[in-house]
Amino acid sequence: MSVGEAQTTEQAGEVDPEEVEGEDLGWRYSLKKVKADTTARFGLYVIALMGALATFAWIDYYLFDYQIANSLWYHPARDPDEVNQLLPPVFDSEGTWAHPLGTDSRGRDVLVRIVYGSRISMTVGVVATAIGLVGGTVVGAVSGYYGGWVDDVLMRIVETIYSIPFLVLIIAFMAALGTRDVMFATIGVGIAIIPVFARLIRSRVLSVREEEYVEAARAAGLRDRKIIQRHIIPNSFAPVMVQATLQIGICILIVAGLSFLGYGAQPPTPDWGQMLSESRNYMIPNPWLSVWPGLAILFTVMGFNLLGDGLQDALDPRSR
């Protein structure tokens, strides 16, 4: 799960300081390039689609208690009155258009549950990444800018967190709080990925810190906090954007794994990882149950990876 992270950190370290200023100037150019890139655009469409579904599911869940889904189609969480258990998908000879992807062991429609599962995955991915980004920016900026013992202490803590496998750390964290709630899973993932951003930001700060304009700002009497806010963070923006995009996908994968182990969204809330976990008991009567949630995860994560790759190409000064 530390795949994309290692890659960009690697490259961030290599970026020549002279090229940094150009990145900031070329924002409009970069955006144009992302739009022109077919794969990045495809990624953007996928994310837009999943985002729209997730928003719709949130509104329906929060404001209407699933009544929109229930009146239009089926209830995504409650067991139906008329029970059609383990119905196969429509392309099977026994499948019907009433349940295009079939039904699960309780007779709930799989398609509705897949659509509503986007709510948990998208939210957790975005919120966890935001937590990691904010935490990592603070830690990385402070660590890189001040150096010395502050840097030593912070980096040792970051390394410590990084050296424990994500899943183990998050499950221990949730066990410590005595909860299996998805909200704490999100916070746990967010904390677990702080090292990713902290290291990235720190390496950027180290290269930007020696820049002449930063020294000029210091000579002009600007305070440290202002220098970090005004110069260092904006100039580290491009690689962080790329990393954040890829990280949302990684977080979705982590949370799917957590839910699969029972540490995430709890039944009856529709969630992809948990649906996969349930499907394990019905692999022989209805193997398709194990297919759909995984495809949904793959599709969503791929969207973020495509956009992240596209952003990287567009923002990388060397590829201009």
Partner: protein, 345 residues
């Protein structure tokens, strides 16, 4: 600084991280609500005297700072404490489960590396041609797919539908042939039983390993492939490669002699860094395939509130990671003489 001194200083730098791991796990584990002794005794209405006695035995009656102090001292002496649930030393339990997980992780990385490096080189060599596109799509899907889902699909297809490979009931190469069920399963099974039963056991191990290996290795394969391709592309654009080309050296020789070795450096780093993520992935894969390795050990330990076992296993994972990083750094310094041993100018 010599390589030996560099190694020593890297090991010394690792000590605070290891103490950090102990501290974090100790804090987390001691925050866990619930009483391990009560879980052990199954019911709440046990004799208070027995509970007191057990608490004294596992040191749970002492104040927390004292327990922390004794734990750190113990770890420094190689004593990870006693498992409450299993009643055996934690280290013994870890070492008992370790070979299985090592087997799984090593075979996953073997699978990943042996596929990803040729594919990555090929993709870089044929940039923007169909081969490149196909291998990039494979890599993209690989990094976007949950490993446990691949495991489920493989079970459905190869175990249930086709019936070619087993889905659970892992066999270990050191198992006695008498204990292994379906020893003569598979095409080669009956033949191997006749030659030597232990050979048949080994064959069964391989059959059991195939699906978990693919499930765990796919993500690593895709990750390494992406990096391999990017590195090769960059190396192939370097001046000295251009020079070799200008001299009329064939593209094949350039790939093999000049570009390949240099491009492997970042790949070494990724393999080292991804060791933790593979161990984390093993938690899921062991659950999917019912393999009794370290991953499942830690999950059940958390569920049973087996404090010493949770701390010990987490600490062990941390040690593996730290050692992996040190080995990566050292091999990096060894392979590439330009890497300085941490000295500035």
């Amino acid at each position: 600084m010599s390589l030996l001194r560099y190694t020593l200083s890297r090991c010394l730098q690792a000590i605070p991280v290891l103490i950090g791991i102990i501290t974090i796990t100790f804090i987390l584990v001691n925050l866990i609500p619930g009483d391990p002794i009560r879980i052990l005794l199954a019911e709440g209405d046990a004799d208070p005297a027995v509970i007191e006695q057990l608490e004294a035995r596992y040191g749970l009656d002492r104040p927390i700072y004292e327990r922390y102090f004794y734990y750190v001292i113990g770890v420094a002496q190689g004593d990870l404490g006693q498992s409450i649930y299993y009643g055996v030393p934690v280290l013994q339990k870890i070492l008992e489960r370790l070979p299985v997980t090592i087997m799984l992780v090593v075979s996953a990385f073997t699978f990943a590396i042996s596929l990803s490096i040729p594919l990555g080189v090929l993709a870089a060599h044929r940039k923007n041609k169909p081969t490149d596109h196909v291998s990039r799509i494979i890599a993209l899907i690989g990094v976007s797919t949950p490993s446990f889902w691949i495991g489920l699909l493989l079970i459905i297809l190869f175990a249930f539908h086709l019936g070619w490979l087993p889905s659970s009931g892992m066999v270990y190469p050191w198992d006695s042939p008498d204990d292994v069920r379906f020893l003569d399963a598979g095409h080669l099974g009956p033949i191997l039983v006749d030659i030597h039963p232990q050979l048949a056991v080994f064959y069964q191990t391989l059959r059991h390993l195939i699906l978990p290996t693919i499930a765990l290795g796919t993500l690593q394969m895709a990750a390494i492939m992406r990096i391999e391709r990017a590195e090769m592309l960059e190396t192939l654009q370097r001046d000295y490669v251009e020079l070799a080309r200008a001299y009329g050296v064939s593209e094949r020789t350039i790939l093999r002699r000049h570009a390949f070795r240099v491009a492997q450096l970042p790949v070494v780093t990724i393999v080292g860094l991804n060791l933790t993520s593979a161990l984390g992935g093993a938690v899921l894969i062991e659950t999917v395939f019912n393999i009794n390795g370290l991953g499942r050990l830690i999950i059940t330990a958390i569920q049973n509130l087996d404090y010493p076992l949770v701390m010990g296993t987490t600490f062990f994972f941390g040690v593996v990671f730290v050692v992996g990083v040190i080995i990566t750094d050292i091999s990096y310094a060894y392979i590439d003489p330009r890497v300085s041993y941490g000295e500035r100018e």
